[in-house]
């Protein structure tokens, strides 16, 4: 192997803080992304704790309603743009070059830039909490005219922060596509790429297509607020409904951007611990592509109640229900991969199996919400909140947690504490379900989302939800402790295959992974 003597050709990492500031190494940047996103996960999580503390009992106890609105808004924005998206980009940085046999990402300097503008974007977004008039309070979907005519003055900072996040995501995804197209090792054909690479490849195309649409939407808001245009103002001949169309044309592909890499992670982990190759590899690739395509033609299912022709409702309803087919293919393939496998249940596998079960629950409530006639009842209730937390937390966050447990030993050459990992899993699993399962019931009974108070009949379920949220939130401290403990004092390991059932190029590298890998491309048979 060429990487046995890499030390002769390359320097190791530089010392001190400038290593991280100037780095163009994909592993360093991946690490930066992952730590940054974890910090954002804690920040967004603390906002969620404020929300659940206020909703612990009916009536107003802790915060003012205006601040509650800022919390729901900031929680959504920070979790979507600050926690989940950068975390998956971090994984892509770490794993894609190692999985396709590339020495680094295709555009290392741009890679550095796309990470280092993120802290500025989120510092700006978070600073709005301290401004006069408070932080954005119009929900993470920032519907006009709430976000234009009636917005707090800090909305301009929010717009600029979204522009920067968008630029970062666009650069990151261009980098990923350029890497996958140009830097695959000889013999690594497209249909031999690991599924994590495939799902990110498709996700990156979604990002390139829709992040500019988001930038366009916030630019129109900026012009309406400061430059006298009337894109979304009825008084000047515009239309607030246009905002919802533009936003969800971005927003629906966005929710698949958040989950497709998670599908990829699970498709790596399940075969490893079932000790069988992934069932239906090609169908997995086609299903991912089909989901990505469909995501562009279903956006109006978020806006059935704003009024549209019956033909429009029918089209968006059937197109949305169609997404259940490729998603069903994926769930079927994961289950069939496990069928008759020699399964073991290490922490990554536990999170991956929980992902399959709970994501399917979220998918089923999604099918219910897709149906226009019933959506009129579910619209803007806690049923929607339960649905998207089952997909985003049990989907995206669980798959991210699984991937950290799965690859961390490979990255740092030390094993995490399995007992602590399993404890983290079970506390998370119970806490998560306790939080979000009751929200289905209060939602069906009519409890509206984004309201700081509620009718007395919802009190018991909300108290359960809040207790579950505190349990789930505190379990993340155990996770953080386990990760830090692993890096500093975990049991050293040196076998290239950390998991005996793992397949793929990244497991042919030494453990811990050297700073530079695959400087000479490997041969893929």
């Amino acid at each position: 192997m060429s990487n046995q003597h890499v030390g002769e050709h390359h320097h190791g990492p530089a010392q001190g803080f400038t290593r991280w500031l100037y780095t163009t190494n994909h592993k360093d940047i991946g690490t930066l992304y992952l730590w940054f996103s974890f910090a954002m996960f804690i920040l967004g999580g603390s906002f969620a704790m404020v929300i659940r503390a206020e909703l612990f009992q009916p009536g107003m106890q802790l915060v003012r309603p205006e601040f509650f609105n800022q919390m729901t808004t900031m929680h959504g924005l920070v979790m979507v743009f600050g926690a989940i998206m950068p975390a998956f980009v971090g994984l892509a940085n770490w794993m894609i070059p190692m999985m396709i046999g590339a020495p680094d990402m295709a555009l290392p300097r741009m890679n550095n830039l796309s990470f280092w503008i993120l802290p500025f974007a989120f510092a700006m977004l978070a600073s709005t909490l301290l401004m006069d008039g408070g932080a954005p309070n119009f929900g993470w979907t920032f519907y006009a005219p709430l976000s234009t005519t009636y917005a707090p003055p800090s909305v301009t900072f929010f717009i600029f922060a979204v522009h920067i996040m968008g630029a970062s995501s666009i650069m990151g995804s261009i980098n990923i596509i350029a890497t996958i197209i140009n830097l695959r090792a000889p013999g690594m054909t497209y249909m031999k790429m690991p599924l994590f690479v495939w799902t990110w490849f498709i996700t990156a195309f979604l990002l390139v297509a829709v992040m500019p649409v988001l930038a366009g939407a916030v630019t129109m808001m900026l012009m309406d607020i400061h430059f006298g245009t009337s894109f979304f103002s009825a008084a000047g001949g515009g239309d607030p409904v246009l905002f919802q169309h533009v936003f969800w044309f971005f927003g629906h592909p966005e929710v698949y951007i958040l989950i497709l890499p998670g599908f990829g992670v699970v498709s790596q982990i399940i075969p490893t611990f079932a000790r069988k190759p992934l069932f239906g590899y090609a169908s997995m690739v086609y299903a991912t592509a089909a989901i990505a395509f469909l995501s562009f033609i279903v956006w109006a299912h978020h806006m059935y109640t704003v009024g549209m022709p019956v033909a429009g409702e029918l089209f968006f309803m059937y197109a949305t229900l169609l997404i259940a087919v490729p998603t069903g293919v994926k769930v079927f393939n994961w289950i069939t991969t496990m069928f008759r496998g020699s399964m073991t249940f290490e922490t990554p596998m536990l999170f991956a199996i929980a992902f399959i079960c709970l994501f399917t629950v979220g998918g089923l409530s999604g099918v219910m919400l897709a149906m226009a006639p019933v959506d009129f009842q579910y619209q803007d209730t806690y049923f929607v909140v339960a649905h998207f937390h089952y997909t985003m937390v049990a989907g995206a966050i669980f798959s991210l947690t699984a991937s950290v447990y799965y690859w961390l030993p490979k990255w740092c050459g030390r094993m995490y504490n399995e007992t602590m990992g399993k404890t983290h899993f079970w506390i998370s699993f119970v806490g998560f379900n306790l939080t979000f399962f009751p929200q289905h019931f209060v939602g069906l009974a009519g409890m509206p989302r984004r309201v700081p108070d509620y009718a007395l009949q919802f009190a018991d379920f909300n108290m359960m939800s809040s207790i579950g949220a505190f349990i789930y939130g505190s379990s993340q401290i155990l996770f953080l402790f386990n990760v830090i403990r692993t890096i500093r004092a975990g049991k050293p390991i040196s076998e290239p295959k950390v998991w005996d059932g793992a397949q793929g190029l990244e497991w042919t590298l030494p453990t811990p992974v050297p700073y530079h890998t695959f400087t000479t491309p490997p041969e893929v048979k």
Binding site: A178, N182, V210, P212, V213, A215, M220, A235, D239, L242
Partner: protein, 185 residues
């Protein structure tokens, strides 16, 4: 070899990014307005000139047209229809009036924006004269009766027996001043 490949891929993707950003402004916004007009959604004007068809008043049918007047937030004018509803025959020319009073001590300009229920009635509702076609200035303390002349199309589906027409009145004084400044330059 890989290097020029990377440059090519990056260039193509950069074009896609710019194109998608432009797509929002040059395709999505006009397309939305065109579709809304073509399908008569959200009370948008069809833009077509309506040819008055004389002497074809359909007296066998009566349609109840209800009028609603709403003030947008922050709009202090008194604004209401002179009659809550009228019964009309399709094809007949009808005139109704809305009353508006500027109750403030400042000269103001207003714009009324219509909306229909049911939405598909919009394309069968022809206004030949309406105060909503242009901005309405009122001096401080002044009031006015604002006329609207309309014809309900003979082709109105039989299923529609009631049409509600709502006007929301917006304060566009600042917007009007800015536009004046531009035209006077």
């Amino acid at each position: 070899m890989a290097f020029s490949g990377i440059a090519k891929t990056t260039g193509k993707l950069a074009v896609v990014v710019v194109a998608m950003f432009a797509f929002v402004f040059v395709v999505m916004v006009p397309l939305y307005n065109t579709l809304c007009q073509a399908l008569g959604l959200n009370g948008k004007y069809s833009g077509k000139q309506y040819e008055v068809v004389q002497a074809k008043v359909d007296t066998t049918r009566t349609v109840k047209v209800q009028f609603v007047a709403v003030n947008a937030e922050g709009m202090p004018w008194q604004f209401q229809p002179m009659q809550a509803s009228i019964d009309v025959h399709p094809g007949a020319v009808n005139t109704v009036e809305f009353y508006a009073k500027n109750v403030t001590d400042k000269d103001m300009v207003a714009q009324a924006v219509p909306s229909f229920v049911p939405a598909q009635a919009a394309q069968y509702f022809h206004k030949t004269e309406c105060f909503c076609f242009r901005r309405q200035p009122l001096l401080a303390g002044a009031d006015a009766k604002l006329p609207m002349q309309f014809i309900v199309d003979q082709a109105l589906p039989a299923a529609i027996t009631d049409i509600a027409l709502s006007y929301t009145i917006f304060d566009v004084t600042a917007m009007d001043k800015a536009d004046q400044a531009v035209t006077n330059r």
